[in-house]
């Protein structure tokens, strides 16, 4: 936690403390630097988004399509959903399913990956099986999920679990296999017990790669929420999209659902990225 926010920024080469007591011109320079950075980090992406939305609007107008919604109609759709009170409910429902599917995947995937990475025989025994299961899309599992779990919340949770457990397992496995042997040898020379070796060497050394795997897996978990909610659950952002298809010409709501999924995905990614800033994680990157 001791890492100051600025230190994570690659451009922040000047330390903040001296500047506080610095003469006026330096402070002004610092402010200008902040402004430049703000423009670059917020201004640029906002500009790209604004241009894309404008292009979208123009494209719909030119094509004369009365099926495909314009951005302002999508915004109205989002407002309508919020007013009907379903937007918040559906976001909660999707987050609930992703939370549980993903949490289960972390609980299973990390230990499993560490074990497989550490014990060569286990790896030889299970890796081919994992590699066979890994490329199967969660959509292919939908029929089986319904047969096993009916159309309760368990079925989408299971699909999200399936989608995210493999990236986590594989990244944990590879992380253990990539530990520099010199760390382990040194630790053994110091007479560390197995438990100590794991806690003080293996876990911290693998953490950065595991976190990367978790980040990818969270993206995948959120990605499959639409597919997972195609099963007859009656809530969720995926359901919102499917339901809007039933509703006749409500493609504004379809796109509204897509936009909400995208925005929440972005928020989740920012959240997980923060994990990478912690000291313990950065240790693994030390050369």
């Amino acid at each position: 936690m001791s890492v100051a926010p600025v230190a994570s920024d690659a451009g922040a080469t000047t330390g903040a403390p001296e500047l506080l007591d610095a003469p006026e011109p330096a402070r002004r320079g610092r402010r200008r630097l902040d402004l430049v950075r703000f423009r670059r980090r917020v201004g640029l992406p906002v500009m790209v988004m604004a241009l894309s939305i404008a292009a979208w609007d123009v494209a719909v107008r030119i094509s004369g399509s009365d099926m495909f919604p314009r951005p302002v109609e999508v915004l109205r759709g989002v407002i309508e959903l919020a007013e009907r009170g379903v937007l918040f409910k559906y976001i909660i429902a999707s987050l609930f399913r992703v939370t549980w599917g993903f949490a289960l995947a972390v609980m299973v995937g990390v230990p499993l990956g560490l074990l497989l990475g550490w014990f060569r025989r286990l790896y030889l025994a299970f890796n081919p099986m994992i590699q066979i299961l890994r490329p199967i899309s969660p959509i292919a599992w939908i029929p089986l999920a319904i047969l096993w779990f009916g159309v309760s919340d368990a079925a989408p949770v299971f699909l999200i679990f399936l989608a995210s457990v493999f990236p986590i397992t594989v990244s944990a496995m590879a992380a253990v296999q990539n530990i520099q042997p010199v760390y382990v040898r040194a630790a053994r020379n110091f007479g560390l017990s197995r438990a100590q070796l794991f806690r003080r060497i293996v876990f911290p050394a693998t953490l950065p790669q595991i976190i990367t795997g978790i980040r990818i897996a969270l993206g995948v978990a959120w990605l499959v929420v639409v597919a997972a909610e195609m099963i007859a659950v009656n809530s969720g952002l995926g359901y919102l999209i499917i339901d809007a298809r039933n509703a006749g010409k409500r493609y504004d709501l379809v796109v509204a659902g897509m936009v909400m999924i995208g925005l929440i995905g972005l928020a989740l990614d920012i959240l997980v990225r923060r994990l990478e800033r912690f000291d313990e994680v950065r240790w693994g990157y030390a050369r």
Partner: protein, 347 residues
């Protein structure tokens, strides 16, 4: 630091689970307390948002408003595969289903019995208004979307082509969930679509679809969907199944009683069950009034033998089961005796 992450995750899981239970599962905190009231087990019935299954939500709505709650719990699906799988999993012991699909499942040893019809007619074939297709013969070489290979819509196409000396090889058949059909026709990804209403009427109301035929023109008294119940459930919970079928039969009578009832149904079903614009159902249920019908829904041998024969000729069915295997006519031997629900929608 680790503690923060672990604690944060736990708090998140608890908060999101509580909110979900409260907002979406209708569970207050009370329902987790011991001694919370639990009603009798409800009868889950699968259905799709099409007029072929209209009696399902109508029965539920009328039950709820007459008695506060009923035994029927409608479960809405969006496509046939999911609906079928939920039935096979035992999640929905009763379901509205395509007649040939029910027969096919029976052939494969699934304990399923057709106990009542869902409707009569209520299907159309739509083409794009600018297309050059004016007669069934014009479909030659065109792409036609049907809801499912085990749908009576497919058999209807088969029958219509056969009567004109053509076969299914003359066209390209595609399977497509009914809700996707209007957009596919609009984009002219397919040349013709056919499924249960109101998705056909939607293309008409939105101004790009034209009716090629209504079922009543090709196959009068057409049946596409039926109410089917798990045979094992019929044995163990016969009284409940009887009440379920009675309720659905009464709803059919109620719908066909007056045009006002149909309009009431269009409004409350659109709003509470189908999430569609009421004008769609209002259109389908009234223009013309015999576009879809909900009386004369007793299961009859001759009609199913016709479906079976067509299915066999088309190669969909093997013909290893017969009427008595897949139908149970004992619940409503004659629906002329069934009264309508004595109920009016509150103004």
């Amino acid at each position: 630091m680790k503690r923060i992450v672990v604690l944060g995750s736990l708090v998140w899981i608890i908060v999101i689970s509580t909110l979900h239970a409260h907002l979406n599962l209708g569970m207050g905190l009370n329902s987790f307390m011991p001694g919370a009231e639990k009603g009798p087990e409800k009868f889950r019935v699968g259905f799709l948002p099409v007029t072929c299954h209209l009696t399902c939500p109508v029965t539920h709505y009328i039950n709820e408003s007459m008695t506060g709650e009923g035994q029927l719990e409608p479960v809405r699906f969006n496509g046939w595969p999911e609906l079928k799988e939920a039935y096979l999993a035992g999640y929905t012991p009763a379901t509205f289903i395509l007649a040939p699909m029910a027969i096919k499942l029976r052939e494969e040893g699934v304990p399923i019995k057709i106990v009542y019809l869902g409707h009569r007619d209520g299907t159309a074939m739509m083409v794009h208004k600018d297309s050059q297709i004016y007669r069934i013969e014009d479909l030659k070489g065109k792409k036609v979307a049907v809801p499912n290979r085990y749908s009576n819509q497919r058999l209807l196409v088969y029958k219509a082509l056969q009567e004109r000396g053509m076969s299914l090889d003359d066209i390209t058949l595609l399977e497509m969930p009914p809700p996707d059909m209007p957009a596919a026709l609009y984009a002219r990804a397919v040349d013709a679509v056919t499924s249960g209403e109101p998705f056909m009427a939607q293309t008409e109301l939105d101004g790009y679809g034209r009716i090629l035929y209504l079922t009543k023109d090709v196959w009068p008294n057409f049946i596409s969907c039926v109410l089917a119940v798990d045979e094992r459930v019929i044995e163990t919970r016969r009284d409940e199944v009887q009440r379920l079928v009675d309720g659905i039969a009464k709803s059919g009578k109620w719908l066909d009683d007056t045009m006002d009832h149909r309009m009431q149904a269009a409004d409350f079903v659109s709003q509470h069950y189908y999430n569609q614009h009421p004008r769609l159902l209002r259109h389908v249920l009234s223009k013309p009034p015999d576009r879809v019908k909900y009386t004369n829904l007793t299961v009859r041998r001759a009609e199913f033998e016709e479906i079976e024969a067509l299915g066999k000729a088309d190669g969909l069915l093997k013909g290893t089961v017969d009427f008595d295997d897949y139908c149970d006519t004992s619940f409503v031997p004659d629906d002329a005796a069934v009264p309508a629900h004595d109920w009016e929608a509150p103004q």
